[in-house]
């Protein structure tokens, strides 16, 4: 099939199959997404993060944890020979540490999304579908979690669980689900009484089956957009915990912890603290741009 006819097949007004209709819809979404160059920049940054994380061993020229010669290679400024971002107080190559740190950042984002999204969906759809006291109890619970500022609640949880990147991920996930639950509930309320749900109920489908098979898929797209928009915030919270010494522990090359370690040398060796911050900034900017773009394409109601 030539390129032109493939395009025509995708954009056909009369799709011959369900698969063609779905692919065509996805293609149209992609076309409208592609016309937003800021969103494309965001996508490029996020893809770059994934690639760097996957091939960190190949890309990083030095070991992220074991430093070089402490007598001659400490505090080399950026653009030194072989050390594009310079070296830190333990003569470690900052570029290599940032490259390896991308794995931690990606891990945090993915794990928080994987833990928090199902919780939010489950709580929200259950509350919205059953209504009544189930709704009241679940939404009160959600409000309580929303009543704490997110970083503060995460701090309290990490204090209870002990510092470390795994506990930071759990703490951030525990504090992330409430907005998703609210969103899923609102979506569920709009479809709860629609005919196809009633039809499924009359056919004898169980509540669990209706929730899982018929309600959740419809809530998914708006929740996924919301999660993408939140990812920058998740990265910033994780970096903040790392900066306070409650997230990833040294010598792990986590960006927030790297800033904390470089703080002592801020005045004379500014690059040790500022370069990892730039990495955090670029990645969270990427997620923000991507999230904005996705929202514009997938959720025309929110566009303004």
């Amino acid at each position: 099939m030539s390129a032109l006819s493939r395009r025509e097949w995708l954009l056909s007004d009369q799709p011959g199959s369900r698969r063609q209709a779905r692919l065509g819809q996805a293609y149209r979404t992609w076309l409208s997404f592609r016309s937003n160059w800021l969103a494309m920049v965001g996508l490029a940054i996020v893809l770059a993060l994934v690639v760097v994380a996957l091939f960190a061993d190949v890309i990083a020229p030095y070991d992220p944890v074991i430093g070089g010669d402490l007598r001659t290679e400490r505090f080399l400024p950026p653009l030194s020979e072989g050390h594009i971002f310079g070296t830190d107080d333990l003569a470690r190559d900052i570029f290599s540490r940032i490259v390896h740190g991308s794995r931690l950042t990606l891990m945090v984002v993915v794990l928080v999304a994987v833990i928090a999204t199902p919780i939010g969906l489950l709580v929200g759809t259950t509350a919205g579908y059953f209504g009544g006291w189930v709704d009241t109890v679940l939404m009160r619970l959600t409000d309580i979690f929303l009543a704490f500022p997110r970083l503060i609640l995460a701090l309290a949880f990490v204090a209870a669980l002990g510092p470390g990147i795994e506990n930071a991920i759990i703490a951030i996930a525990i504090t992330s689900w409430p907005p998703y639950a609210r969103l899923a509930r609102a979506e569920t309320l709009t479809i709860r009484d629609s005919d196809y749900i009633n039809a499924a109920r009359l056919q004898g489908a169980s509540s669990a089956r209706i929730l899982w098979g018929h309600v959740t898929p419809l809530c998914l797209s708006s929740v996924v957009i919301r999660v993408t928009l939140d990812m920058a915030g998740i990265i910033l919270t994780a970096a903040g915990l790392g900066f306070l010494g409650l997230g990833a522990q040294p010598p792990q090359p986590e960006w927030g912890a790297m800033i904390a370690a470089g703080r002592r040398f801020l005045i004379d060796q500014w690059w040790v603290a500022t370069v990892p911050g730039t990495a955090i900034f670029i990645v969270s900017l990427g997620f923000n741009l991507l999230g904005d773009g996705l929202r514009d394409v997938l959720d025309p109601k929110a566009r303004k």
Partner: protein
């Protein structure tokens, strides 16, 4: 709800407002109870042994057992919660293991520093954010709009502690425009008699202008930084409210009547956008508390945020839970305040309440 009798019209407006306020207060009480449950449970799962923290690890078994009972740890969990609840409601958050003082006393000492920082920050954020949002809405899609959008995006994406360090590096270490970390230089520390705890206010009231200048040059950098983050949020919301208002028919009517454009924007449209803006400002004031935890660490600002992180790093759980609870309560309180203001200020909400 029993007051949903629709025929009332204007006559029913007042009781409805009262009813709505009562409902809000009940919700807040319930939320606060939830906050207590959460902090209580966090306090129970900590790996720190509260008894050891009191008696030290050399105490004989008999002392350990006595304190164990004294702290109520032998009773069932719900009874422990009941005791905790009574204590908190009577203003007893326990003692800090670190400072050996009551938590309430510690918090009263550090809180004014945070309050002062957050207040200056919200002033900066509001004074800069609202005109920027209006400007972006009026010039929608043009350069001004893009500039405001980019400033907002940077605010949403940059780690606040990184910007703080950059600020210190540039404005303090290189340019010497501002003073460094801390609230005030030691030289001035004792020339201000603390009354309100807000150093700007105290020094101004006592006519200590040299001290005032010093305090100002300490606060301006962290406050601008926090203010920048609220500005990002406030300008974005102002823009969207203003776009909404400028598309209304009364704006067209005013234009047809020949009302000057500046008046339409700043008087007609902005006044209508002001009601939701009050909510936005209250919410960003609350979120400054969150930002202050990281900012205070960077700027060695002796406020609640630094107290919290210090206690965290030393596993001083009473202090951690006390400050967490206080921040949560302020958050809930400001949410309530913004809801109340919204109800009282907006006639449309008032009527449908």
């Amino acid at each position: 709800m029993s007051d949903d009798t629709d025929g009332g019209g204007r006559g029913g407006a007042l009781p409805r407002v009262l009813w709505k306020i009562a409902r809000l207060l009940a919700t807040v009480a319930l939320t606060f109870l939830g906050l207590l449950v959460v902090t209580f449970l966090i306090g129970r799962v900590v790996p720190v042994d509260p008894v050891l923290a009191v008696v030290g690890d050399r105490a004989p078994k008999s002392v350990y057992d006595r304190v164990f009972v004294e702290l109520g740890l032998d009773r069932p969990l719900y009874e422990q919660f009941w005791i905790y609840l009574q204590k908190v409601l009577s203003g007893d958050f326990g003692q800090s293991f670190l400072t050996k003082r009551a938590i309430t006393e510690d918090i009263a000492r550090v809180f004014p520093a945070t309050l002062e920082l957050a207040t200056v920050a919200i002033l900066i954020g509001t004074v800069a954010g609202i005109p920027m949002g209006v400007w972006a809405a009026v010039r929608q899609g043009r350069l001004a709009d893009q500039v405001v959008r980019v400033l907002g995006l940077v605010g949403y994406s940059a780690p606040i502690f990184w910007l703080g360090l950059l600020g210190l590096l540039v404005f303090y270490a290189r340019l010497h425009w501002v003073a460094g970390p801390g609230r005030v230089d030691i030289a001035f520390e004792y020339s201000i008699t603390p009354r309100t705890g807000l150093l700007l206010l105290d020094s101004a009231m006592q006519g200590e202008w040299a001290a005032f200048r010093n305090v100002f040059s300490h606060i301006i950098l962290p406050a601008s930084l926090l203010g920048y983050f609220s500005m990002a949020y406030i300008s974005r919301m102002t823009r969207s409210f203003m776009l909404n208002e400028l598309a209304q028919e009364y704006v067209t009517t005013a234009r047809v009547k020949g009302v000057p454009e500046w008046r339409i924007i700043w008087v007609h449209a902005l006044r209508n956008a002001a009601v939701p803006l009050v909510t936005v400002i209250a919410l960003s004031y609350a979120s400054l508390l969150e930002g202050s935890v990281l900012t205070e660490t960077v700027f060695a600002w002796p406020g609640l945020g630094q107290y919290l992180t210090n206690s965290l790093q030393n596993a001083d759980m009473n202090a951690v839970l006390g400050s967490t609870l206080l921040i949560g309560a302020i958050f809930v309180g400001l949410n309530l305040l913004s809801d109340l203001l919204y109800t009282l200020l907006d006639p449309r909400v008032r009527r449908q309440a």
